[in-house]
Symmetry: D2
Subunit: 342 residues, 4 copies
């Protein structure tokens, strides 16, 4: 069985990464590739790293182009997925890398995006409690945001085991590809190289409600999230430093045991040996998550640091992993687990 996959938004960073993974996937054949302003162009001119697909030409993002595939990946600007998905049959697997179907609460969507809520789909983070079951056989998948992927995996075991107070503080550094190919002055190489800067401070970043949703669901009570994203001088990678006040009586052993148990059977999430901390370089291009935890007794806080590649596990790898689950393929098929380092 070879499945035909289309990618809408193939000229962007998420689309390019999806294609990198699909080329290496033994059960997928690459079908239509679409773009908006880039329709008609050679893929090789836009994504020179995709050498084997260089002669492919982008088509418009239209129903007649996308229909007839087994899987359609949507890597479109936020707010555009609902209309495209509505035109695709219920038997087609639609994997949306946009935000449209991630949030379950319409009020959250309205507050952060300002448009009508399109609904919610099974959430493509299989490592979360209950997620794998919901994804198995699904025909619609909402791929998580890159930050929520890192943060949810960093903190859910602490909340699942009731070890942490429900006020999380998160500071995360991201590579610039997280902002896409948008032509904005602050994303110019001259501005980002040699520089760190925050943005979306004070709870205004759109990934905040998604983190709250995930952590609250696990905790069984509302978890507040103070989230500060920062832009780092690198192309890829997220390093999320997450902390919360420890519940009374916590020990370092209990903390470590909770994380060990949560991830002992997970193929893509690695709790590092004690004393070793993650780096984003080690997951560059891989669908892996590296984690370490510590209990700072003096400050009374649990600290968890997670490293992911925002484009791989944080977007395209998560999408392919979810696709595998939805289609009944081995979950790790076609997914690299080794970072390209140094």
């Amino acid at each position: 069985m070879v499945l035909r996959a289309a990618v809408a938004g193939a000229s962007g960073y998420a689309g390019g990464e999806i294609l990198r993974l699909l080329v290496g996937h033994p059960e997928v054949e690459i079908g239509a590739l679409t773009g908006h302003s880039n329709a008609g162009q050679r893929l090789g001119a836009l994504q020179p790293q995709l050498a084997p697909l260089a002669e492919r030409v982008l088509e418009p993002t239209a129903t007649e182009v996308l229909s007839g595939h087994d899987v359609v990946f949507l890597a479109l600007p936020h707010g555009q997925s609902a209309a495209v998905a509505a035109e695709l049959g219920e038997d087609v697997l639609v994997v949306d890398c946009g935000a449209d179907f991630r949030l379950t609460d319409p009020a959250d969507w309205q507050k952060f995006y300002g448009t009508p809520h399109a609904g919610s789909w099974p959430y493509g983070l299989p490592e979360l409690p209950g997620a794998r079951a919901a994804l198995t056989g699904a025909r619609r998948v909402a791929v998580p945001g890159c930050y929520p992927t890192a943060v949810s995996l960093a903190l859910f075991p602490a909340y699942a085991a009731a070890l942490a107070e429900p006020e999380a503080v998160i500071v995360a550094a991201t590579g610039t590809s997280g902002a896409g190919k948008a032509l904005k002055p602050h994303l110019l190489g001259s501005e980002v190289m040699g520089s760190m800067s925050p943005y979306g401070v004070g709870g205004t970043h759109r990934h905040t409600p998604e983190m709250i949703q995930n952590l609250s669901a696990v905790a069984g009570e509302p978890v507040s999230v103070s989230f500060t994203p920062t832009l780092a001088p690198m192309s890829r990678g997220i390093l999320a430093t997450c902390s919360a006040r420890a519940r009374p009586g916590l020990t370092a052993e209990a903390l470590r045991a909770a994380y060990g148990k949560a991830y002992q059977d997970e193929p893509f999430v690695h709790l590092l040996p004690e004393g070793q901390w993650p780096s984003t370089a080690a997951v560059y291009g891989a669908n892996s998550v590296l984690l370490q935890v510590a209990y700072d007794e003096a400050a009374g806080r649990i600290i968890v640091v997670a490293a992911v590649d925002n484009l791989t596990k944080g977007t395209a790898g998560g999408a392919v992993q979810s696709m595998n689950l939805a289609l009944g393929l081995p979950e790790g098929m076609g997914l690299p687990t080794i970072g390209v380092a140094p």
Copy 2:
């Protein structure tokens, strides 16, 4: 009046930055430059950026070399300053860029450094309450650590105005020069480029007690600090993201007013206009601090982000600023206030 200044440890990053600033200082003449393993070498071979001093030769770090100067800057490994300073007369101004005389509590020193406590000197962060008076006319100065410079300036106004609960959470990114020229595998360019990683997590970094000391003094009560430093792919700069739970009744206006008042007369600390956030690039090579504050009502926290150059305001600039105060010179003499950007 031209003062003769010696620099002990002139081959390192801190020593090199002190020299860059002193060359531009109108009242200072550069005297002896010393090194340890590099004694006998041309400075130009070790610090090629110091073109006007290229033919100077490093001498050994010895009393007879350092004596006879008006000012001696010590840029030595931690624990070596006390012995050198003891040999210099009480009339000589000694500015120590090491940690030896920063901490006032011997128990803190013992816990984090493991050697006997050498004592404490006037603390070279003039912007802290009371510090400027203590530095005026001083003959011994302890220059703060780079992280405590950024963090103390970021948070002290909130504690001085009793706006924040006494539990600070800090995640800071630093350029690699903060680790000095030590030949360690994780500091190789191949390892750090394109990568973010944490270190000293869980309260183990030696700058933690210094932050606690500064913030507790201002707050008038013990402030706990959860501090996570991270290594960023850049040579210079610290971006410190600091937060604390807001005291009940806080408003965004009161928060901003407290910071405005704290820094309205400070020449080197700039509270940015609302909506603009700092970047480390904007303070590259400058003795400036850029700050922004926000009140995240949903999470109930105050967020302050500060950017400094770890080698300038964070070390050598702070040292020269303190020297100016100690010697009765204009505080800003010889100190660049413009970052080299982009």
Copy 3:
């Protein structure tokens, strides 16, 4: 005597660097700052590194704004300087950082820029033979391109001493600030970090005729130039690797002697000791040029490598150095000679 200086194009990288230098210049007071699409904005929003000028507001680039100054720096897109300069009196010193008045041959201009030739002004590279005299007392100055600055200084001594065949091969790496703040996809941080790429290959870069002009003038015969610029993952700096076949009978000693003689009295150009090679880091933010030469006997070629900061000696520093000469000030006034490194 304090001179009032205006900067047209103050929102760009060249304009920002001119302002950084002028703030530190003891004989200059900063007058009008102008922009085009950014007129009306706070400078602090556009150039956050210029903290002391943050509250200055950009005015439109218009004659009435620029007139009444002693010096006007033009940091405008190519082709716009002539019209502005024509409106300024002959007594005003106009220093043009654009290309408009660099080329003496109208055919060269026409071929590479495609518009009518505006003429040529005294050339702001004082280290070239004859240039210093032409700049002294001048009221119009054409600041060289950044690449021609590096390449001309790297190769002219070899041609002046008739040591090299008239066919130069140059490969140069530049930081991204050389391309300005233009919003182009290939200048995004995501694209440039971790990547080297060439552009303008095969003699098509507009700086090529300027190099040919300079080297041919010194050689007294036409010198051909094969020039390949490459974009490097750094914000600033040019490393120019220049070579030419050695004339028969050359010795390494004669080569070194020619460079030693050419630069023995130059304050900003440093021939490094044998065995030490330049790096762009060592001239970061400085008006300095670091050079090294070698004679590869096996290949029969002279190799010269020069490092400059494209924005400092390559643009704004060269502009201020030329201003000093034109106005009879000490040539090095206000110009940093130490790089900000590491």
Copy 4:
């Protein structure tokens, strides 16, 4: 058939990259991993990106450890391969990533390495004329140096078609991983970020005779090479800018045709469409080479720019490609052809 492969030198950058590729190779099972000073350590502590092999422990580089494998990859310091290889049976495939067996002329070896010449093995650059035949069925392979890989592929078609004069001028930029994990001051992140610098100028780099050997063999006459390597602020990648005077009568069409013909059937070498130039980002982690050519008529020179990943096609990928040929496997098995970009 599954082959067991050992890697000697598994803690270094080349060894790590070999392992990354072998994990993805369907016909290879990973056997012994050896190190020298790191013997006894967990691989995960040294190569955290190799998550699936994290618990493997390094053994000493000894005959009894390496024997009993079908393939042994040697990623050892130069000069150590001969002794190890001599102990392995003639039926074992030994793929040497060091320099020991690359040069055919003992005088070249002696001049550049200063030790007795060990001999020469089939040269692992299958794209060179005659190389593929020599590699098929071989039991000893000398993997080319990273620079010679890029330069030989960039220039051999021009020499094979007698289009270029036999004097090549090459300036190449490399990522820092090319220098390995050696703890040297100039390789520290603080030194390399934001900086370009040359090294081994004037024909002294040890890869020079290897380039001369390859190009002269194709040209049928001695080709001189002026080679200037430069260190760029990136972890991986080589951008080689190569040029030579055109032979009389050359046309741009003939030049392009020669390259088109040379590479039309090569799976890993891509001559880009006219007007598109290579970047190292596009081959990051891939076994691909991107090439472009131009004829600069004014300067009379052919320019070829090639981008490779020094660790993949330039070392480990070339090694695996040669292994495939030697063992009769499909040449591209297990080799990624898509770069990890952005």
